[in-house]
């Protein structure tokens, strides 16, 4: 039980550190969001220095750095990240309202990634045809090596502009989900495929496989009943990586497919140093990551008693290989 409490404490520390890190990075940038906002008119700033100072004071960006940090942290503890300097909207509201479209694409992409990535890994290790195995198992590395914005634009060209099958833009209806999800699923599915295939091969080389086989289990039963079940466990530790991947990928896919979402909001906020919004996103991302890993780490020993001794270490090893 103390272990659980310790993990929880660690998770809170991570959230705090993410908050602080994002503040430090953005604070170190030259200029500030007010300057960017006022300079966004073509030709640059029109206002007088006094007027600029007034806006700075209003957004509190002229406070000493520690005061700013203290105020922000205190407010953040109450779920208030402040107002976006660029749009004037409440930062928390802005990020949370951008979440559903991102979750929709990410969720569908995750399904595609698990089905196809997992399918390729299972089939690739199961088939007896060497050429098929080679072909299937060479797909994941290929999926990782294509720039996803390029894949997205290519899909739009072919399926939307040439064939007219699916819409190129917008976030309404299922049809608009397909192309962005496929684009997003490609690198994620590739990672899942790669890790699962590796894990499967490791399992198949384990002595217990020989034993089970010797006991008369069929090849299919060995593969799906034993090896896959055991191999899926290390893949579970990928959850954090995959979630991060999906969020990062959404920055690209949302731009390519003209969708709203957390990725777009973040990229825009970073480029104009909109500290409230960036902090809200980073803390949200860290929260997801921490929670997922916490759940996985806590579940791990339950699912696989053999590994109860050193849960943290092995998961980390696998994670770092992804």
């Amino acid at each position: 039980m103390t272990a659980v409490i310790r993990r929880l404490a660690q998770a809170i520390v991570v959230l705090w550190a993410a908050f602080t890190l994002s503040f430090v990075i953005l604070y170190l940038l030259p200029g500030d969001a007010v300057l960017t906002k006022l300079g966004s008119a073509d030709g640059g700033i029109n206002a007088s220095p006094e007027q600029i100072a007034q806006v700075r004071a209003e957004y509190g960006v002229d406070d000493p750095v520690l005061v700013q940090y203290g105020k922000r942290l205190w407010a953040a503890l109450h779920g208030d990240f402040g107002r976006s300097i660029a749009t004037g909207d409440d930062a928390t509201h802005q990020v949370l309202s951008a979440l559903p479209p991102t979750l929709a694409v990410s969720g569908f992409a995750l399904v595609l990634a698990v089905v196809f990535g997992g399918g390729i890994a299972v089939l690739g290790t199961y088939t007896r045809a060497r050429w098929l195995s080679h072909l299937l198992l060479s797909l994941p590395p290929l999926g990782i090596s294509l720039p996803s914005f390029w894949v997205g634009l290519l899909l739009i060209q072919v399926f939307s502009f040439q064939l007219g099958l699916l819409p190129a833009l917008g976030s309404t209806g299922f049809a608009s989900l397909v192309l962005p999800s496929v684009t997003l699923a490609l690198p994620t599915g590739a990672i899942i495929g790669q890790v699962l295939a590796k894990s499967l091969r490791t399992q198949l080389a384990q002595p217990y496989v020989e034993i089970v086989r010797a006991k008369g289990a069929s090849r299919r039963r060995v593969h799906f009943g034993h090896a896959l079940r055991n191999a899926a466990l290390p893949a579970l530790t990928l959850v954090g990586v995959v979630a991060g991947n999906l969020l990062a990928g959404s920055v690209i896919t949302e731009t390519v497919f003209s969708r709203d979402g957390v990725g777009r909001v973040t990229a825009a906020a970073v480029s104009v140093q909109d500290i409230p919004v960036v902090q809200a996103v980073i803390v949200l991302a860290a929260f997801f990551f921490v929670t997922l890993n916490l759940v996985v780490d806590l579940l791990y020993p339950v699912l696989d008693p053999r590994l109860a001794r050193v849960p943290g270490e092995l998961t980390r090893r696998e994670r770092s290989h992804a």
């Binding site: 550190a17 890190l21 994002s22 720039p147 060209q157 080389a205 990062a248 921490v290 980390r316 290989h321």
Partner: protein, 279 residues
């Protein structure tokens, strides 16, 4: 890693055409980085406006771009800058990450806890967001993009190194070395580093591929390196507006990037295999 991997000789080259191909490709890229003149005699910077947007032909293997520059020449000449950026990114990730992991693993205790929480944060924040912020902070330019990508990949190296240190630290031969009075630096040099080198090298080759792609994603988002000299990521990203009218401008550099990433991945797998074998 399982120690029971069958000791089959997998390194007989003729049986590994993919590996041979990968090695040849990477060698060619290295050569292009050092001596681009070997592959092309065309000018990558100044083009012939009259020959703009020509499709691939024997004269222009990859076609020409909007100002009449030979795309193949730009890809070849881009190898140097791209490799430099990518290698720098990997070095930043490797050196900084490994140092952090080493420190955490060796000292243990509160330092380990603190350092690893920082690493947690680095991993909790998606890499691309982290590099976006770092690029905005440092300013544009290839070096800064490389550093940004390096920082965002640092966490994996730190974790790996720490895990290796912990593994080696608790192993029997280190215990006995310690018992026989060998000091930690000695242990580090004689046992930890040689053992950790393998996995770190594998991760480095993998990161190499990721780095090329991340640099190009940053270019796509308008945060990339944009010197007049060509760079792969910028080439792929810059040509995308021509996808409908001049597919070769982004597709052929894109495939080049994909091929290089594939080749390094293949190499990484081979190294990984070899490592497992040596265990």
């Amino acid at each position: 890693m399982p120690d029971s991997v069958t000791r089959r000789r997998t390194w007989s080259l003729p049986r590994q055409p993919g590996l041979v191909l990968s090695a040849v490709l990477l060698a060619a890229v290295l050569l292009a980085a050092v001596a681009p003149g070997v592959f092309t005699g065309q000018d990558p910077i100044t083009g012939v406006p009259a020959e703009r947007l020509r499709a691939p032909s024997p004269a222009h293997l990859f076609g020409t771009d909007e100002t009449g520059r030979d795309v193949f020449a730009r890809v070849v000449h881009g190898a140097s800058l791209s490799l430099r950026a990518t290698v720098l990114a990997v070095l930043v990730a490797l050196v900084a990450g490994a140092a952090i992991g080493l420190l955490a693993g060796f000292r243990g205790g509160w330092l380990d806890a603190v350092v690893m929480r920082v690493v947690d944060v680095l991993q909790a924040v998606p890499a691309i967001l982290l590099s976006l912020a770092v690029v905005t902070a440092l300013g544009f330019g290839t070096t800064n993009v490389a550093i940004a990508v390096g920082v965002s990949n640092l966490a994996a190296f730190a974790r790996l190194m720490r895990a290796e240190v912990l593994r080696v630290r608790s192993s029997v031969f280190v215990e006995s070395a310690r018992a026989s009075g060998v000091r930690w630096p000695g242990v580090l040099a004689r046992h930890v580093l040689p053992n950790a080198a393998g996995p770190v090298l594998v991760l480095a080759t993998l990161t190499f591929g990721t780095a090329v792609l991340e640099v190009s994603a940053l270019s796509f988002l308008g945060f990339g390196a944009t010197p007049p000299t060509p760079e792969w990521g910028a080439l792929v990203a810059g040509g995308r507006n021509f996808l409908a009218t001049a597919w070769w401008m982004t597709t052929l550099p894109g495939l080049t990037v994909a091929a290089v990433v594939l080749a390094t991945n293949r190499l990484s797998r081979a190294l990984d295999g070899e490592r497992s074998e040596l265990r």
